[in-house]
Symmetry: C2
Subunit: 319 residues, 2 copies
């Protein structure tokens, strides 16, 4: 008997995005029907193109700055709320972006979940809620949380909303503080930028900052696997988990690996300064002890994930 | 030469409110001209009535859900952003209230400060950002921050916005995590409620919960003094401080003190349960080590502040 997406066990906001589309594929392989809500500003229909005839999947174009249609939520067992502005830098020049596409969108999703009696909401937060932490690796209990960007502020705001809805209305909440998540569906980020720059000019790569910024990079399939592990196993009213691997890699090393993979002809120029842009966090290393206590391990560490991402993007530059 | 409020060194949002109006009096006594922005939903003109002919004070009726007039901010040295929905319980039945009057209002105030080049923003957060902490006294470094109410979520969201604006645009930020602030200008809260109930029925006092909820109560003049101390002395880009006294007092003891002060004729009835309402935080005790390191001490501890507040409200009940 065919599944019906009209009673979807899962709603995925941002389901056409870099991470959401991978989650949708995982959920479909697990036999769950899925409702995708996406505004297609950074999400892409091609990421779900192979599921075009899948009757277990419904895709709706929805702008979450307004309350979404409740019928998309009715009967759902869980909402995976991944929709957001993915470009941290944009918030500095357009401060309303993260308020509207982050905080207000999360509020509208939680209201829909409450009204439609969805019992579980899982939310993609970020390590940027830690601001510039003074402890590495940084655990989920670190405070005070002083985000450096409007994007980080909207992630912290959304965490608070998930917590309040969980405690006031009996939802179960899951909060994932992501490291840098990378994979073939990326549409922004440092590796994507380096590859694009080298395609335009194979002889010169400009790097923002001094290249010493160092962060963890988690492969997107590992990320989705960790999300599903936490959602399946964590039992508190609100469950906050860092999602990362064990090591980190510097921007300098990423630049050198990208240049090498793309033919090795480019010289690298650093703009200087300890961060790439206002609001950038130069150092990041997350404790994943809490996640590992659930029995989860990453398949790939940062350098392996970076090499896989470069390979997915890089083709020999023209000229 | 008379001061001109058109170049006010201080903007006070919520300046007609229970705490804001006391701050305004302090600032005027210190010779600072003041622009008050208030929507007068819980603020009251009578709290500033004695300053009606004060040329150093300008009062504007402003709804901060929309961007406020920039001319109110031009020339200001500091914005004290105290405007908010003061009723934590309201958020449970009207979830949009705290999003709009908390988070969005804070965003609009920060945007105005940025556009008008105001270098300092001081914000009244709350101990409710800690949710149900597991450590007492709770320090500013406690985490994760899992607020229990929509009000708490809006305070956490606003803290994140202050931090992001400080780091992205070079504002200096001051975040005050208030204990329960009490004084003669209160228009809500447990003591206000008890006195009002006893005025209506001097024979019976119903208390929400089992009466064992215990929190710290800071006298409003002490609160304003601590705010001004932090704003004058703290030097980080973002400065987070608990504002409280050293001890706490139970709801049961507050009920008994209120009944006694109002004639002692009422019997007290407890509705039961470990908290007064969904979203209530039953136990609160804040570390004020960081505040004391600035040389500040409270004049009154919780029980003294409670007795002063009861005395300010209680008149012999009719009948």
């Amino acid at each position: 008997m065919a599944e019906s997406a009209t009673s979807a066990p899962a709603v995925v906001t941002g389901g056409a995005g870099a991470i959401g589309s991978v989650l949708v594929h995982h959920l479909r392989r697990a036999g769950q029907s899925v409702q995708v809500l996406d505004n297609f500003s950074s999400g892409r229909r091609e990421f779900l193109a192979d599921l075009a005839h899948d009757r277990g999947l419904t895709i709706r174009e929805v702008d979450l700055r307004s309350p979404p249609p409740l019928e998309a939520f009715r009967g759902a067992k869980v909402v995976w709320h991944l929709a957001a502005n993915p470009d941290i830098r944009l918030g500095t020049t357009e401060p309303r972006t993260d308020l509207e596409h982050g905080t207000i969108a999360t509020f509208n999703v939680l209201e829909a979940a409450r009204k439609a009696d969805v019992p579980r909401v899982a939310f993609s937060s970020s390590s940027v809620v830690y601001g510039f932490p003074t402890q590495f690796p940084t655990s989920e209990a670190y405070g005070p949380l002083l985000p450096q960007s409007l994007y980080g502020a909207s992630k912290l705001a959304s965490e608070g909303l998930v917590s309040a809805y969980a405690h006031c209305y009996g939802l179960k909440g899951f909060i994932f503080r992501f490291a840098n998540i990378i994979g073939p569906t990326m549409t922004h980020g440092v590796i994507f930028d380096f590859v694009e720059k080298l395609k335009r000019d194979p002889h010169r790569l400009e790097v923002l900052g001094d290249g010493r910024q160092a962060k963890s990079y988690l492969w997107v399939e590992d990320c989705v696997d960790a999300m599903r592990t936490v959602e399946a196993k964590a039992t508190d009213p609100v469950n906050v988990y860092n999602l990362s691997c064990h090591d980190r890699i510097s921007v300098r090393e990423i630049a050198e690996r990208t240049v090498k993979a793309m033919g090795g002809r480019a010289t690298i120029h650093y703009t200087g300064g300890d961060r790439g842009w206002a609001g950038d966090v130069p150092q990041q290393l997350l404790s994943i002890e809490k996640l590992e206590a659930l029995g989860w391990k990453p398949t790939w560490e940062s350098s392996e994930a970076v090499d896989r991402a470069i390979a997915a993007f890089a083709r020999p530059p023209a000229g």
